[in-house]
């Protein structure tokens, strides 16, 4: 596989990982807020 193509695929993968990481952090943050409200504050 040409080096250029490999670099392209790596850049795309990094992008996909960034999307997944953003969504995951948002979900974790939201769950923390929900848990705080439901369990601690009642």
């Amino acid at each position: 596989m040409p080096v250029r193509r490999k670099k392209d695929i790596a850049a795309s993968l990094r992008g996909i990982l960034a999307v997944i990481a953003t969504i995951a952090s948002f979900i974790v943050l939201l769950m923390v807020v929900v848990v705080v409200e439901r369990l601690i504050l009642g």
Partner: protein, 508 residues
């Protein structure tokens, strides 16, 4: 002769368009996750269908060309023009399924309004919209505010594209050495502002007695709406709902941050305090914006004082300043009800509000409208012309301006600024005539037309589900035109019609 699309062009366009639609489908995971966490199970299905539709449409489009080459300029422009149309159709699917819209056209209108960061809404009973649907409305605004293409570029999803892909979305300045770094800077900077803004507003809302979860969502949504100068609000009363002066102050700051050029922030990011101050004070766009805002604020206050509304100074300062900031930044948040705008504002104050909407914020920001930079360039070119007329024939004057460095005020720069300004004015007038023909008051029709084209979303109350279908289509076209600053859209239309025309055979 107009360039024509060949069969190979269509395959390339479809491939990249498919990638963008897939990205929109992936982003639907945000509202999907919210619906699951908030136990809104009836809404979860809508987003599964929406994301599924995006996957199928995007996948099929990508299959039109399996291994694409490097993009040409006209292909990039066509993709940008089309992604805002196809994206709005895909984005409208879960909204339509929510049952809060009378027809698919109304949901599509909401999709266009969201993606172009305008803020007009045709939603029925917005106060009882589910958390997931609201999350999707504001996600669309964040996506549209930064630019769908910018987000795709920052994620490195398109490695074989040129600068034309970036500039076709209404952005002209490169803030970093290459396109990917520029897009990434915009994305990172925006994320930081949204995080800080959310924390700030969340604290205010908690102090005002909001529950944590509700406070978190409202803080996030209002921050996105303000920073992306978008104007959707989670409540029908817009910012008035919160009755909070500190919140209004923070929202004003966020709106102003959103209305300043990203390129200027990048310079500040890289430079020190001294260069920051120098950059800010010397920039033609910042100077024009500051002078214009002060002038329009004074005129608005004078026009209000001439009428009977808001004669107490505290109310004037609070509502008047907020309204002008929301209008000049093209945000569209309201602290005046539709009744107050229509019945109590003097026609002069109303007209000044329309003027503020028409000019808008900075180029390369999330704000819409003609933009302060173009007004500054046209004003400077006018002064230069007067200087030329007065100067002796042997003298040749040159004029420069400061905007991200020192530039010569050439005929090309002035011509480009004039062209876009004229296109904006023509679109404002066309939309206003469309409203007048439908039987609405000229001033209201003009306000809605200007508000749609400048992607502001400030409404006099005309925008409602019962307006004629053709008017909804006119406003949607205006929102698209305004967001892409005409060129990408007009290029797609002209190329499309040129491609349909049969080729002339050469005479032997």
């Amino acid at each position: 002769m107009w360039p024509r699309f060949q069969k190979s062009d269509l395959g390339m366009i479809a491939h990249y368009l498919g990638s963008m639609v897939l990205l929109i489908g992936v982003i639907m995971v945000f509202p999907l996750a919210v619906s699951v966490i908030m136990s809104e199970w009836n809404i979860t299905g809508n987003y599964l269908i929406g994301a599924g539709a995006a996957t199928v449409i995007g996948g099929l489009l990508r299959m039109c060309r399996i291994s694409p080459g490097a993009l040409e300029r006209r292909q990039a422009i066509a993709i940008t023009g089309l992604v805002w149309i196809v994206g709005a159709f895909v984005a409208a699917i879960p909204l339509w399924l929510s049952g809060h819209y009378l027809s698919f056209l109304d949901a599509l209108f909401e999709g266009v309004s969201g993606l172009t960061s305008t803020g007009f809404t045709l939603c029925q009973d917005i106060d009882h919209l589910s958390t997931a649907d609201n999350m999707w409305r504001f996600t669309m605004q964040f996506l549209g505010g930064q630019g769908v293409v910018v987000i795709a570029l920052s994620l490195g999803l398109f490695s074989k594209v040129g600068s034309s892909f970036y500039t076709s979305e209404g952005r002209n300045e490169f803030v970093m050495p290459n396109i990917k770094k520029t897009a990434r800077f915009i994305w990172q900077f925006s994320s930081i502002i949204v995080i800080f803004g959310t924390i700030l507003l969340f604290t205010v809302l908690l102090l005002y007695g909001f529950d944590p979860v509700r406070g978190f969502f409202h803080a996030l949504w209002v921050t996105i709406g303000a920073y992306d100068t978008a104007g959707f609000a989670p409540q029908s009363l817009s910012i008035m709902y919160y009755h909070s002066f500190p919140l209004e102050i923070f929202v004003m700051v966020l709106m102003m941050i959103g209305a300043v050029n990203f390129a200027l922030y990048a310079r500040i990011w890289k430079g020190g305090f001294r260069s920051t101050v120098r950059e800010f004070t010397a920039d033609i766009e910042i100077r024009t914006l500051a002078i214009w805002t002060v002038f329009i604020l004074m005129a608005f206050v004078a026009a209000i004082l001439a009428g009977s509304f808001l004669t107490d100074y505290s109310g004037l300062a609070r509502r008047g300043v907020f309204t002008i900031v929301a209008a000049t930044t093209n945000t569209g948040f309201q602290v005046l009800s539709t009744h107050q705008i229509n019945a109590l504002l003097s026609s002069g104050a109303f007209f000044i509000l329309v003027l503020a909407l028409a000019i808008g914020g900075s180029s390369g920001s999330t704000a819409g409208g003609i933009k302060a930079l173009r007004i500054g360039i046209i004003a400077k070119a006018t002064l230069a012309r007067i200087k030329d007329v007065l100067a002796p024939k042997s003298v040749r004057n040159t004029t420069g301006y400061t905007h991200l460095g020192r530039h010569l005020l050439s005929g090309e720069v002035t011509g480009a600024a004039m062209t876009i300004t004229i296109l904006y004015i023509v679109t404002y007038v066309t939309g206003a005539i469309a409203g007048i023909v439908a039987g609405y008051e000229p001033i209201s029709a003009t306000m809605e037309s200007v508000s749609a084209t400048s992607n502001a979303g400030l409404s006099s109350g005309l925008i409602a589900p019962d307006i004629p279908v053709y008017l909804k289509i006119v406003y949607m076209l205006q929102m698209w035109f305004g967001r892409l600053e005409f060129i990408a859209f007009l290029a797609v239309i002209f190329c499309f019609f040129a491609s349909l025309k049969p080729r002339r055979r050469a005479k032997l």
